[in-house]
């Protein structure tokens, strides 16, 4: 699914003294089935841009087109629907919910869809098997190591079988060996047909051979 951004602007605290233009007119296009990386220092607006693409927030002005559909003017109610069917998210600190088991964490994004329970569990177990986590299915997530938590986060992102994966600083909490492994997983996902968007200022990521395209951002505008 092609993602087109046209003149995207995003302002926080509009009309107040601390008004802040996080994104100041960005036009971009992301091809399907590629790995793209948004690179830039923290505060450059890459995360804000990614959250707008991922339907987590709405641009103040501009137009985001996802395939045939314009999503930039959709209210939150409907954005969510687009989001949960199209995007899978991997967050910086993995953001697993502690106290729940690995299996429950993975199934969380599918809860509002109301799939039959057995089918959902089967899908989740299949994913766990794929990522070598089957033995940990019933453990609470607090017991996991960093690498395992990362893989659980990927499983969670994949539970609804999204076309596009969004990873926000995925390697920030990993050592270089685990980061390398992570990029390997990303490569596998790309080969299975997913489109992947990553933000990072980690050279392990944007210099990786897996990444097809690097977009550099600074102060809310695209440099390259």
């Amino acid at each position: 699914m092609l993602i087109q951004l046209t003149d995207i602007k995003k302002v926080f605290n509009q009309g107040r003294p601390n008004e802040f233009w996080a994104i100041q007119g960005v036009s971009l296009e992301f091809e399907p089935n590629r790995v793209s990386c948004l690179k830039g220092a923290s505060g450059s607006g890459k995360t804000t841009l990614l959250s707008m693409i991922g339907c987590l927030s709405r641009p103040t002005s501009g137009r985001i087109q996802l395939g045939e559909r314009v999503i930039s003017s959709l209210p939150e109610r409907f954005l969510t629907d687009v989001r949960r069917h199209t995007f899978g998210f991997i967050f910086q600190r993995f953001n697993l919910i502690s106290g729940l088991s690995v299996l429950e964490n993975i199934m969380l994004p599918a809860y509002p869809l109301g799939l039959p329970y057995k089918r959902l569990v089967a899908t989740a177990l299949h994913l766990l098997e794929q990522f070598n986590l089957l033995a940990k299915a019933d453990n609470p997530v607090e017991w996991l190591s960093g690498g395992e938590a990362q893989r659980v986060a990927i499983c969670r992102a994949l539970i609804n079988d999204p076309q596009i994966l969004i990873a926000d600083e995925p390697t920030a909490n990993l050592d270089s060996k685990l980061s390398y492994e992570f990029m390997g997983l990303i490569d596998e996902l790309r080969q299975s047909g997913k489109t992947i968007l990553i933000t990072s200022h980690d050279p392990e990521v944007f210099d990786s051979a897996v990444v097809d395209r690097v977009v550099e951002m600074h102060d809310g505008v695209v440099l390259t």
Binding site: E104, G114, A157
Partner: protein
């Protein structure tokens, strides 16, 4: 369509239970307080309602009209010739004088209600007593009870019978003796009664009879059975009401507690909501999840509280209320109430307990649910 809806709700319940279990102490504390409140209110409701129904049923048989003579605003003995003065009132099928009064027994510091009965075999020496008196004085059939008369003489009476213990709610403190013994004990001359009792067959005529009586005998006041029943009816709902008002304090405290719990989210919980929204939960899903949280707590509390109250009132004879009802009285009837439960009681209870909780949490829940989904990325 319906199955989809039910499945969604089950997933939400799954998640809610997990998060409640994670904060076991807090959730159980809330549940305990809530259950206690439901238990108290339900006990009051069930108890007073059952008492009201029981009183209504039993007193259905009490006399239609009682005529008391008032002298200087006080209840006085009524001369027997008032029966003649009443004459033949249309609708009155029967009229007779009653003798009854109170006897203070210094031995146990109790007030007995003494009534007269015609069918005592040996009029001057035999009495029938209620089980409450028997218990207080440790008396059995065949024992003697000595009562001091008005002029200081002591009379001994043999107890020939105890009143049926099943009727203790009306008869615990009754002492039945013959009219002769009563007159001798209290020094009441022949030709006087405590009050008169009239039977009226047609209930529609009772008021008319009463109006005629007040014209005919201006120094008397008629007390109608329906008035008595109505009074008891309102007395018990009034009493229930006043207890509810008193318990409103605890309900309010609880509501504030619930509000506080719902609005004072920890950073951890806020992050969790953010994650849920980021991974694809819609605001409405989060609200529904929080709604289930309230539902799980209030439903459990309501059902457990109600069941406990039922057991307390109808199987443990409302033992927690006994000290309150008993007050300073020595003779307290032992009774097991017949359960009367109706939809109105349950609905009222529901409104008093579940509704404030729901209302108190709506806005905090909404505030939580509108957390920005991209909050976790910042």
């Amino acid at each position: 369509m319906m199955w989809l809806f039910l499945r969604k709700q089950k997933y939400l319940i799954d998640f809610t239970l997990s998060s409640l279990l994670r904060r076991k102490g807090k959730s159980l504390g809330l549940l305990a307080v809530y259950t206690l409140i439901v238990f108290m209110l339900a006990s009051v409701t069930l108890f007073t309602h059952a008492l009201r129904k029981e009183a209504g049923l039993m007193l259905q048989a009490s006399p239609e009209i009682i005529v008391q003579r008032m002298q200087a605003g006080r209840h006085a003995l009524i001369p027997a010739d008032y029966l003649q003065r009443i004459g033949r009132l249309r609708g009155v099928t029967q009229k007779e004088g009653r003798l009854w009064g109170y006897y203070y027994d210094p031995a146990v510091k109790a007030n007995y209600t003494i009534m007269t009965a015609g069918q005592v075999a040996a009029p001057l020496t035999e009495i029938i007593i209620g089980t409450g008196i028997a218990r207080a004085r440790g008396l059995v059939v065949g024992d003697y009870l000595t009562l001091r008369s008005q002029n200081g003489e002591a009379y001994s009476f043999e107890i020939t019978e105890l009143l049926n213990e099943k009727s203790e709610l009306v008869s615990a403190d009754l002492l039945l003796m013959s009219p002769q013994a009563f007159r001798r004990l209290f020094n009441i001359p022949e030709g006087f009664y405590t009050d008169l009792v009239l039977s009226v067959r047609n209930p529609r005529e009772v008021r008319k009879v009463a109006e005629k009586l007040t014209l005919l005998l201006p120094d008397t006041r008629p007390i109608l059975r329906e008035e008595v029943l109505r009074t008891y009816d309102s007395v018990f709902s009034w009493r229930q009401g006043i207890l509810f008002v008193l318990l409103t304090g605890s309900i309010l405290a609880f509501v504030i507690f619930a509000w506080d719990k719902a609005s004072g989210l920890s950073a951890e919980e806020r992050r969790e909501i953010g994650i849920l929204k980021a991974v694809g939960w819609e605001t409405a899903d989060v609200m529904r999840m929080k709604f289930w949280e309230g539902m799980i707590v209030s439903l459990s509390a309501f059902l457990i509280g109600y069941l406990a109250a039922y057991a307390h009132v109808f199987y443990a004879s409302a033992s927690l209320f006994e000290p309150v009802l008993k007050g300073w009285a020595v003779l307290y009837p032992q009774f097991r109430l017949t359960p009367f439960v109706d939809g109105l009681q349950l609905a009222t209870l529901l409104f008093f307990t579940v509704l404030p909780y729901i209302v108190a949490t709506i806005i905090p829940i909404w505030r939580t649910s509108i957390t920005d989904p991209d909050a976790v990325m910042r």
